[in-house]
Symmetry: C2
Subunit: 344 residues, 2 copies
Amino acid sequence: MSSPRASKRVLVTMGDLCGIGPEIAAMALGSPPPGLGAQLCVVGDAAVMRRAMGWACVHRPLLHLSSLQELDALPPHCVAVWQPEGLPAGLLDCKVGQIDAKAGAAAALCIEAAVRAIQAGAADALVTAPIHKEALHAAGVDFPGHTEMLQALAAAGGVAAPVRMMLANNELRTVLVTIHCSLRKAIELVNFDSVLETLRIAHRAMLSFGIQAPRIAVAGLNPHAGEGGLFGDEEVLHISPAIAQARVEGIAASGPFAPDTVFMRARNAAEHAGEFDVVVAMTHDHGLIPVKYLGVEQGVNVTLGLPFVRTSPDHGTAFDLAGSGRADPASLGAALRMACQLLP
Amino acid sequence: MSSPRASKRVLVTMGDLCGIGPEIAAMALGSPPPGLGAQLCVVGDAAVMRRAMGWACVHRPLLHLSSLQELDALPPHCVAVWQPEGLPAGLLDCKVGQIDAKAGAAAALCIEAAVRAIQAGAADALVTAPIHKEALHAAGVDFPGHTEMLQALAAAGGVAAPVRMMLANNELRTVLVTIHCSLRKAIELVNFDSVLETLRIAHRAMLSFGIQAPRIAVAGLNPHAGEGGLFGDEEVLHISPAIAQARVEGIAASGPFAPDTVFMRARNAAEHAGEFDVVVAMTHDHGLIPVKYLGVEQGVNVTLGLPFVRTSPDHGTAFDLAGSGRADPASLGAALRMACQLLP
């Protein structure tokens, strides 16, 4: 996938069109963060994007691309939209703010088309606007989230690598061992292999972020990290052995630490120097509660382990705001910035 | 337990003497928060407290009480210590910073004596310095924490009421359905009754804090609060029915909400008005991660449902700091303030 192109290309999928995705994509591409050093393009429906630009008061020309090649000669200050083949007709009829199978199908098709374009070398990175899992489900697309879908698409493209979700803001990075499943199932999925794989992925990711000798904290699964076995044995049976093996491999992992204080310890703020560069968390909410606590505006979701760069905002479709033009594109802007920073 | 006494009395147990408990108690009583309107007294070993005052540079007289009655004529600017009968001899030989069964036994005895004094009407509220669960365990005291021990002591005193742990700081209050057990066990303990009881206790507590018509948010157990049943069914089977019943009883409970964003929504800060007065969380770490994220200095643990007021700092024994005089008494000071605010 070496690129002889003059500039890098970042694709932004429009997400579920019944949510805020098209609007925040319009705003972010209408006024992109400065200094990205890449060409941006929405992968979505041109009519949907035109409507969203109206709602969001984005007064820029919409450039409907027939091919991604046209990005090399993109005029400034326009919103480029590449409409993949096969999008359902009549998308403007989908009722904004509601679950719609057609919107779910369109969102999935845009993601698939974007990944194929990247796999074919026609683009370099993917930034995804929010999808709605129930709409995907209604469309017969049974992935619980972007992360799992992208892993499957990468595997279909010949790269069957384990992936992990990372959430990051200016203060804290967390990488999750388990994500979109019941808490009961998550406990079953915490084992030596899944924890060790997460540590390896987190370590490589921190190196790719330019952090030398990254300090990785591992949060336990149970209260007080099991309190020496009194409150559960997953730390003793699975997590500690995985940390020990990671250390043998030269990864500076430590823990398991009590989940309730390790994120506080890792938090890196003006008045508080973080003790760690990243925290590996066993469950979706152990990791996401602290990243989101101070607000989702700066939070970015990064999929680690894929053969290409992928980021997204760390909020959802916000059906209640869709169509109002009041959604905040800050997290999508942060996701664009991080995607460009991570481009090889 | 009506009190004809001139002033309220707040007992402060010294905690595990191998940790920072005696030092922070010495500092907090040596320079108590202003305007408490109550007399303070350490329940602990006088020699241990004298040593701790030296470490913490608390230059006040230590007043070794023979009876709590003496608190009514307490001279100003001294640290009152009531040494309960039966404390083990040679406590100064316990090695600071290490688990010691004798220290665990002494900590448990002080808590029991303090509760009996309150039950007998000789004092009004309890503030506990941190204990170490493994030291308790080594002493044959098999409670996973203060909360469970206090519930058992209250039951032994004739008041067998369910209790819940609340954590609060200036921005956020959370009340926990489950606390000191494995995550696996916690999932089993989430049911209609346990959630409903927690909602009733949280509601009464908020009223006692002077909040009229308290707004209670309920966090789900599973990622995305179960995503409509895709990621677990505890929300559908147990949590939502309990919320519905609470609403029938006039409690303004809402949810279940996705755990990863509900604490952010409830956070009440200068730049962010909280949407809720309290969040009910299903697990120890869902509730404690956000309360502790910005630092434990202002966090207070309150046991709800006991027949008396009980608060504590929201940090542990900090064995690594014990004996250094560098521990921060801020959270204990906040616990003292909250205990005095809650006195009837």
